[in-house]
């Protein structure tokens, strides 16, 4: 190991404000991102519980809720506009502030520098800035609930011209929609800064011996995710600015001529609603992988660690991560098959979409290969990793239906895609976050999470999410349409109602169980069992340093790497694992 301290390390801050609030330490920033996502996920969860209430019992009055949300109830059942506002905000908050923020901003920030043997991110101040912009962005988003007209009702996809025309098209489409766009624009900016930082750090700041092919798969997924973010968020940012200009500046990027809304002639001409969809989905599809790739990294790390076996097909995993990232940029059109897109280009998008299933299948194959012949330790983290694989299979495989042009004609905008993407980019990604939390919490806080309560939380959540989302596929097959405030106004939707009730009850139980996680988290932070440097007997660099790590991570001693990231069960080794920094094995002995 090199003994020279790193002159670039910034001094340890001494004031509370510099240490905990405006910190430039990637670890503090990581924790800040994690807690921002935690607040967001409970807001998002609360919104979904309210939505499920209306879907299951659309005509019921809720006097208590009416007192809390007077705007959402009109002296009786929940209003449809409030339902649509809940839906829009649920989707937006979950996708941006949870699924993009927790795995990348939270765990990525905290562990990427440590796992490659760096003392911090390449641009610490930029890192701080990207967190605080994200923070403001969340504030602006939530503020949309409290302005005149309430939150927007145009969905997280904000399809123009519904999102472009203003209040004439519906409540929440005035000030609320403006705030939504401003918040998203800020978020894009923050993600862009974060992505630059991640990419530079991986390329420039790896410790001696940490070659690309010795990087943990988590680092590979954070790196690839950052590239996706770098290339996709600017497109959404541009789209957002154009949409805001259409609304406030009198331009017509997305508004065609000749529109008449409730007998009011719209004075715009020349724009195209399809253009918004292209810009949105050019971002939106890579975004799906931004949400799920880090989860794949965490699952790989945990499966190998707790099966006490090297990851099966490391090189294939790296190639698959990159293939998913690359192909992810060429499939956005599958969201637009029935939009009026050229039917010919739909054919191309469809074939590429099904091709992207191939690297996903390789990953599943390799995860099973990692378990095969292993010695599985059932820690809570491992339960989540195995749960991740199960959900990844269930959620990913239904993409084979939706990616086909002809089947999409029937299933588009039904509950089938809702079930599909919740299963994969929603709960599978969340299982990655839960797994990461149980695995890394001891490193972050020096204490263990309670394993018994962790497992209890796992069982309810795993069974719960399956009970919610598998029947939801059937609701889609039966014709159930998404974004309907209730499914009682059509004859063909009548058979859906028992399913709506079942799914709502399953959702309430699952949502309630999340309180267990919250309590466990905070209780363990202060009262949990104290832990050592390497409680899981893991091999990667974060487990070579104290828990929690010192300010500059390696206390001036930048490590030298000799081994791959997943050397478990090595024959002839004194322990059943070889850490990345262990001295090289002398082959002549």
């Amino acid at each position: 190991m090199s003994d020279s301290g790193n002159p670039e390390v910034h001094a340890e801050p001494t004031t509370f404000l510099r240490k905990w609030i405006f910190s430039v330490d990637h670890k503090i920033i990581g924790i800040q991102y994690y807690f921002l996502a935690l607040i967001a996920v409970f807001i998002g969860l609360g919104l979904s519980v309210l939505m499920r209430l209306r879907l299951a019992w659309p005509n019921e009055s809720w006097p208590l809720l009416e007192k809390i949300f007077p705007i959402g109830f009109d002296g009786g059942p929940m209003t449809p506009e409030f339902y649509l506002a809940l839906m829009t905000m649920h989707g937006t908050i979950m996708v941006f502030f949870v699924l993009t923020t927790a795995p990348q901003g939270g765990f990525g920030n905290y562990f990427l520098p440590i796992q490659i043997g760096a003392h911090d991110m390449a641009f610490p101040v930029l890192n701080m800035l990207s967190f605080w912009v994200t923070f403001v962005s969340l504030g602006v988003m939530v503020a949309a609930f409290f302005v005149v007209g309430g939150a927007p009702i145009s969905g997280w996809t904000a399809y123009a011209p519904l999102s472009a025309l203003g209040e004439v098209a519906g409540p929440g489409l005035g000030a609320g929609q403006n705030l939504w766009i401003i918040s998203i624009a800020l978020f894009c900016l923050a993600s862009l800064l974060g992505a630059l930082n991640f990419i530079t750090t991986v390329l420039n700041m790896r410790a001696k011996g940490m070659t690309l092919m010795k990087m943990p798969l988590t680092v590979w997924t954070w790196f690839t995710t950052a590239i996706l973010a770098l290339l996709s968020f600017p497109v959404l940012l541009a789209g957002g600015i154009l949409l805001l200009l259409d609304r406030l500046g009198g331009t017509s990027f997305f508004i065609p001529g000749g529109l008449v809304v409730s007998d009011t002639i719209i004075e715009h001409s020349g724009g195209s609603p399809i253009l918004w969809q292209h810009l949105f989905w050019f971002f939106g599809h890579p975004e799906v992988y931004i949400a799920i790739l880090p989860g794949m990294g965490v699952a790989s790390q945990l499966l190998s660690t707790f099966a006490r076996k090297p990851i099966f097909g490391y090189r294939a995993m790296v190639v698959a991560i990159f293939a998913i990232g690359l192909l992810g940029f060429f499939v956005w059109g599958h969201h637009m098959f029935i939009s009026g897109l050229s039917p010919l280009s739909a054919l191309i998008f469809s074939v590429i979409t099904l091709t992207i299933g191939v690297p996903s299948a390789i990953k599943t194959f390799n995860w099973l290969g990692t378990l095969w012949g292993g010695k599985i330790r059932f820690t809570t983290a491992m339960l989540y990793a195995i749960g991740f694989v199960s959900l990844f299979v269930s959620g990913g495989i239904t993409g084979l239906f939706l990616g086909q042009t002809s089947i999409d004609v029937q299933l588009h905008d039904t509950y089938f895609p809702v079930a599909h993407f919740h299963m994969i980019m929603g709960v599978a990604a969340l299982f990655g976050i839960f797994g990461g939390t149980y695995y890394w919490f001891p490193k972050m806080f020096g204490r263990m999470l309670n394993e018994w309560w962790g497992k209890f939380h796992f069982w309810i959540t795993f069974i719960g999410v399956n009970a919610i989302f598998i029947p939801m596929h059937l609701m889609g097959i039966m014709g159930g349409l998404r974004r309907y405030a209730q499914s009682t106004e059509f004859k063909f939707l009548e058979p859906l109602q028992p399913y709506q009730e079942f799914v709502s009850i399953a959702a309430f139980i699952t949502a309630a169980a999340q309180v267990i996680f919250l309590v466990n988290l905070f209780w363990s932070m202060f009262k949990g069992k104290k832990t050592s440097e390497n409680p899981w007997e893991s091999t990667t660099l974060e487990w070579t340093i104290p828990s929690p790590p010192p300010h500059d991570n390696f206390a001036g001693k930048i490590p030298v790497v000799h081994h791959g990231p997943y050397e478990y069960g090595v024959p002839g080794s004194p322990r059943d694992f070889v850490m990345q920094t262990d001295p090289p094995i002398d082959k002549n002995k």
């Binding site: 099966f312 090189r315 039917p343 299948a361 039904t414």
Partner: protein, 263 residues
């Protein structure tokens, strides 16, 4: 722990297979010429997906149980098996791409083949939250429309009375009649925001995108009344934007048109 986890995964598989067996509900009845092929393609895909899903989950459960640390002490130290991975990749790629290509047939039939000769012409103009249906009348031509003339009560699609072709145009609200066993050419427009014209029984769904006139065609094979639903979020009453498709015998259809033109 291991055995209960394995059993849970297997039970989820069983429950899923039961749900997808059609016992608990399935697609709405199918009455269009092209719809059967969509249902068939769904079925073929279901077989492939079902086999892959079951295989992956059953093996996952089995490994979880078989390789638990209490029962399996000797780790098989391996970094992978290139041959196996290449085989798995090629097989998956072939199956997936085959599915993608098979799935294109109906699509091409709907969107790439020209509109059949002699098709009945119907135009749909969607608005918040209703379907305006227009027929060209005896001359077979739709009259010009002008947005400035639009009036929800009197002239919902803004037909220009000065255009001779518009004289015999017939406009109805939320009710669309078509003759059975005849090709229908449908042109989809929107007055305000994006809607989506969805007839579950026809296996037909197409967005009505503002600024565009999207043409497609279908043929209904069974007389009856079916619901038209909006499938693209269009505002607060999206969930009750309901219309009716009435598939009639040729004579009934002509009679209906006549009645509507007099109305």
């Amino acid at each position: 722990m291991a055995i209960s986890f394995a059993v849970t995964i297997w039970l989820i598989v069983l429950a899923t297979i039961y749900l997808f067996s059609g016992q608990m509900g399935w697609f709405p009845p199918q009455v269009s010429e092209h719809g059967g092929a969509i249902d068939d393609q769904f079925f073929y895909t279901l077989i492939v997906v079902g086999v892959a899903f079951t295989l992956a989950q059953v093996v996952l459960g089995y490994y979880v149980w078989r390789y638990r640390s209490s029962a399996h002490k000797e780790v098989t130290y391996t970094h992978g098996n290139t041959k196996l991975e290449v085989i798995a990749t090629v097989v998956t790629a072939v199956v997936f791409v085959t599915l993608a290509i098979m799935g294109q047939k109906v699509w091409a039939q709907l969107h790439l083949q020209g509109i059949p000769e002699g098709a009945v012409k119907v135009e749909v103009t969607a608005q918040q939250f209703a379907w305006n249906i227009r027929y060209p009348g005896a001359d077979g031509r739709f009259g010009r429309t002008i947005p400035q003339l639009i009036n929800d009560q009197l002239n919902p699609v803004g037909v220009d009375p000065k255009d001779p072709a518009s004289e015999d145009d017939i406009v109805t609200l939320n009710r669309m009649a078509i003759p059975v066993n005849r090709d229908v050419q449908i042109t989809l427009r929107s007055k305000d925001v994006t809607h989506s014209f969805f007839v579950p029984a026809l296996r037909f769904k197409q967005d009505t995108t503002p600024g565009m006139a999207i043409s497609s065609h279908f043929k209904a094979l069974k007389i009856g009344e079916y619901e038209i639903a909006c499938a693209e979020l269009c505002g607060i009453q999206h969930y009750k934007m309901r219309g009716f498709l009435m598939v009639k015998s040729s004579e009934d259809f002509e009679g209906w048109l006549k009645e509507m033109s007099e109305y």
